[in-house]
Amino acid sequence: MYSDMVMDHFKNPRNIGSITDADGVGSEGNPVCGDIMKIYIKVKDGRIEDAKFQTFGCGAAIATSSMVTEMVKGKTIEEALVISNKAVAEALGGLPATKMHCSNLAADALHRAIEDYQKKQKVG
């Protein structure tokens, strides 16, 4: 039911873990629906230099988290903000229809992390 790309990212997820001195942290989903994605970003000179994830969820949830961290590295904040859940799914060669809503929240989690970063910038 999953594409080869999804299975590859599920089997060998890129960028697992947390960043202790992250510039932004964001999460999306909740345990009741069965998916939680937490994204950490490190920003330097307006570019996302590193991104990591922690995810509780199904194959699609883990693969989209892995993919979004790959997609976002090296991007400017503006470029990162236009990455959508749909774009992540497309980069993975598509997701089963039932997974599009519940497990495809990685870009939203990334946007939460960017909001957190922007909030910290204002305070700082």
Binding site: F10, I16, V32, I36, Q54, C58, I62, K99
Partner: protein, 392 residues
Amino acid sequence: MGKLIYLDHAATTPVHPKVLEAMLPYFSERFGNPSSVYTIAQEARQAVEAARTQVAEVLGCTPREVTFTSGGTESDNIAVKAVAFAQQKLGNHIITSTIEHHAVLETAHALEKMGFQVTFVPVDKYGVVNPDDVGRAITDKTTLVSIMLANNEVGTIEPISDIAKVIKERAKGRKIAFHTDAVQGAGSLDLNVDKLGVDMLSLSSHKFYGPKGVGVLYIRRGSPFQTWQHGGTQERNRRAGTENVPGIVGTGVALKIAEENRPAFVKHCTFLRDRLIAGITKIERAYLTGHPTQRLANNASFYFEFIEGESILLNLDFEGVAASSGSACTSASLEPSHVIMGMGIPVEVAHGSIRFTLGLGNTQEEIDFVASIIPGIVSRLRAMSPLTSEKR
């Protein structure tokens, strides 16, 4: 990936070679319609009736009390609706449990929409229905009670004969039909309908090494019944349509073999099950679901905190292991298993449920291999879960 280690026998089983052999002549050689008069058709008729007798012998009933259907779901649908509508003038109340198979549960929900009252009796933390809860739910409008013989997800065996006694006491001479969905019980449990004290009982052939697409519904003589599928007079007017002759022949043979093998099956599976349970429950924050002892010999089911079922299943599949989960992600409903939640397990951990169901073909070597790879899978997934660090 080596050979398949199949641990999902509650989902379906392979057709037994002897069952297949018995079925084969009825596809192209003895293909006659059992309702026709000529020899080839009468051979098919005899084969269907021989299968009916084989089933009746296992159930301890008369062959005329056995109806063949298209599967467990149809048997459950017919049982619940046949009584509910046949007795509608006497009462509109039916009782079932919160952990029934969807074939009963969704039928009950459909009846609710048609104006029937349904009481869903709860279960305890092991998934056991308390017979007294059933007794207390009975009103003078109750016409049917439907409680499963054993649960398909967690393997808990329900006290069917005790429930039958309570129903009889509380009915005070009124007719309350008692149906049991025994789909998971064939080959593991005694299906004698008098010992169980049931008026109706559902079976599904492909759960006991028979073919898919065939079911059995036992209907005690004199039970209220309203026909649902109209047409020809097949199955004593209870279920119209030309009989699935090869499937029915296979069902008779499969049930006979399952019953003959039952003591060996229970012994073999219990040994493997307990070995698997002992191995897996050693893992931190891994728990057995269902009753510790009153459970099907072949069911070992668990939940793991902080991780999700589908991810575990995919990792098992990489190693050639086929199992099943009650996680929302493995269904289209987006809700975790009603059985796991019915036992009071919180929704956030219900997603981490896994079920292994064993069969005669499984070996100790296979079970030891599965027990050896699970800790690695669990720790790998926990290492990437945000819940692990938050909740510990």
